[in-house]
Symmetry: C2
Subunit: 446 residues, 2 copies
């Protein structure tokens, strides 16, 4: 068996699999992984995939490559030379990329032979198996689809903000104290045995950036030490945060967010119809205006439409979120619903009275936002009323001291929007390397 290194073996230029259609009749070099090997005795068939696509290959009985072909294991990395042939009419799979051609293999080199897989890569896997073997399972079609789509969401979100004049900045992950004054924060052993924390939000920093750029955004890692073990909570998250100055009220923020979401949905629909189909997910309906209700209105609708008594009128329960979305989808043809006017005591201390909102997508809150308090004295009062010591926030309060304009912003969870876009049941599936109470890559021993 030839087990040589790529550079020594050939001088032919590699062709990406997606480009094979332009090489009909030519001898071509491809590289990739063995997705499937079908040994039919005299002949061997392969599905080979690279970063760009997949193609069927055939090794004929008289080929020099037949002996190697019979030895290669699934998922091995290979380099293949062959002739690109049109398939016979009856074998054409018109709906598939490269469905009209196949590569007749002349030579195979194994770049790295895979050991026997612990399970069928494309089989249905339970969540722990999926995550225990992430370095392997990220290769399966389902995972590749999830994270390719996630990359597009991130890119489109950023592009939309940039188009709307937002300037990116880098928010810190290590902070001196817990910004939100509520969320559980992980402690970090900093220099000189001092305790630092992992940021629970880039909130203060993005507000500060308003005074530099007026409109600013950051993609920030945030960390929550809460002991949640639900299908929608993680201990490390990617938040897409923006903040803007000189707003009239929170509705200016909602308008920007709406436009970003519409741009994201458009981009996903254009690029990933195949991925949505794979998950039997519909293109999200994102109309020109998202239905918007106050918390009280929403709960009144739910109560009436679903004939149910609302227990907690100070916040939306997960059931409330699902039902308002179900109803709004039918009534307004929207997968997105804005809920406004949460009681201010339920929101972070910097929230401006009566100017908060959440965006709910297919029954799950994916974004939270508000206008913030910009007046220095009002902020001091607010901190005191919440039992916070303004002295501890003196760094942040510099923003308020020197002409902080009325401003607001919001934060979308990248994992949550990915999850709902594909109707995944657990947010861990939408996270390449999820961290939670029980896992950092491998399961934690208790």
């Amino acid at each position: 068996m030839v087990l040589s290194f790529l550079s020594n073996s050939t001088s032919m230029q590699r062709t990406y699999i997606k480009d094979l259609g332009s090489k009909i009749g030519s001898e071509t070099l491809i590289c990739g992984w063995v997705s499937v090997r079908r040994d039919q005795g005299k002949m061997v068939f392969f599905d080979i995939r690279d970063g760009s696509g997949s193609v069927q290959c055939i090794v004929l009985p008289d080929s020099q490559a037949i002996l190697v072909a019979k030895e290669i294991s699934t998922e091995s990395a290979v380099s293949i030379e062959g002739i690109v042939n049109k398939r016979p009419e009856k074998n054409i799979q018109a709906e598939k990329a490269n469905g009209d051609l196949e590569l007749q293999i002349v030579k195979i080199e194994v770049l790295n032979m895979a050991q026997t897989l612990p399970f069928e890569l494309e089989s249905e896997l339970n969540l722990d198996t999926l995550l225990d073997h992430r370095p392997l399972t990220l290769r399966n079609e389902r995972s590749r689809n999830i994270f390719r789509l996630q990359a597009t969401i991130a890119e489109a979100y950023r592009n939309s903000l940039q188009k709307q004049g937002f300037v990116e900045f880098q928010a810190p992950a290590i902070v001196g104290g817990d910004a939100e004054g509520g969320a559980a924060a992980f402690k970090v052993n900093y220099y000189y045995d001092q305790t630092a924390y992992l940021a629970t939000s880039p909130q203060f920093y993005k507000e500060i950036m308003v005074n530099a750029f007026e409109r600013s955004f950051t993609f920030a890692k945030i960390f929550r030490a809460e002991k949640h073990a639900t299908p929608r909570h993680l201990s490390e998250l990617t938040q897409m945060d923006f903040e803007m100055g000189f707003i009239k009220d929170h509705r200016d923020v909602m308008k920007i967010l709406h436009d970003v979401i519409v741009d994201v949905v458009k981009e996903v629909a254009e690029r990933h119809a195949d991925i949505l189909k794979y998950f039997s997910a519909e293109i999200p309906q994102a109309p020109e205006e998202f239905p918007t209700f106050t918390l009280a209105e929403a709960q009144e609708i739910i109560s009436k439409e679903f004939n149910r008594t609302i227990e907690d009128t100070s916040d939306m329960s997960p059931e409330d979120e699902r039902q308002i979305c179900e109803w709004a989808k039918k009534k307004y043809g929207s997968d997105f619903v804005f809920i406004t006017d949460y009681p201010v005591e339920k929101r972070a201390f910097y929230t401006y009275q009566n100017r908060s909102f959440d965006l709910i997508f297919r029954g799950l809150e994916i974004n939270s936002g508000s206008q913030r308090i910009h007046d220095y004295n009002e902020m001091i009062e607010k901190m005191k009323s919440r039992g916070l010591d303004p002295e501890k926030f003196s760094y942040y309060l510099q923003a308020h001291k020197y002409g902080f304009p009325p401003h607001g912003g919001s934060s979308t969870g990248l994992e949550r929007i990915t999850m709902k876009m594909l109707n995944l049941e657990n947010i861990r599936e939408a996270t390449a390397f999820p961290r939670d109470m029980n896992r950092i890559d491998t399961r934690l021993s208790e």
Copy 2:
């Protein structure tokens, strides 16, 4: 004095300051901060800036706004109505944006009055003052220029990778162990009193992603607990990391990196000629090929050209890096130099023998890369030879078990490339919220 809220005061649509040129003769509403106020007794002049630009405004003696104008402090947030006038020919400043017009103020509303500034915002500030007052000093022209340019670097870097087929993913910040097996890592108190660490590199994760997408990248926060207090080290950094499969050797990685750098320089030059000029910085020279030397060659050149004995031949010293760049700039007209073939024992354990490189930009290493070991058995041997326990790397090693192709990648420090692009003397100036031994926002007490 009118101290009303924006929404109550007017129904006029706001115009961004950059668009005032199209409003000559019209009554217009702008919002922004007071950069400068010049009280000339009967008249008051302002420079007002918003996120888009700056404009000179004038309050005439008979204006209703004159009393308010005389009260407003520098950096206050204001909303202004006025008439856009062409300036008299003699007052035109052709080289300045809006240098041909001024806004004759009819009405001013103070949205938030700034307290007296602790120092002149545009004065030269020492580093500690700059950082102690970051929420204020981020507003000055110098800081805004630095971070606007940094946003462009990040955007252009990402766009170039996406154009070249790289798929973005989110690397985790919390890790179970120290990936590099060398760098000092911060400890995190995780659940159940277990110790986790802050990532010193997204290395393992980006390698794993090669098996999913072949080409992948991430912008990752990394954390170094080393006790460095130099002008080029931070404890929290933003790294622009990419990794690619099916390479011949490290030169494939260098080729991609070269193209990314060229794209970044081009974008910076096109968008930010004014910012480069502000810092008296030239557009970096990034020729079609970057001069490339082995470590031994580079040190021989330095020794000869600068008539100096090299003490340490196992690595480039900061002086070596400066001198090879100085020489290469003269000789090859390049601000970028590749150094290859560092002794493998000086590099991380996953480095493939003789296939490492650094990219030096204007005398500072901004990027480090290599081909990695992809063969399972070779990797096990390498770990053992370094005294590392392969058992502890079992998660990562799944990638090697199942057909890991030859691959490599590199990592560019966003703060370092920003710093050298503008010839800044300290990396903290190129970091919005720097963390180091002595500072998390405010100075740490020892």
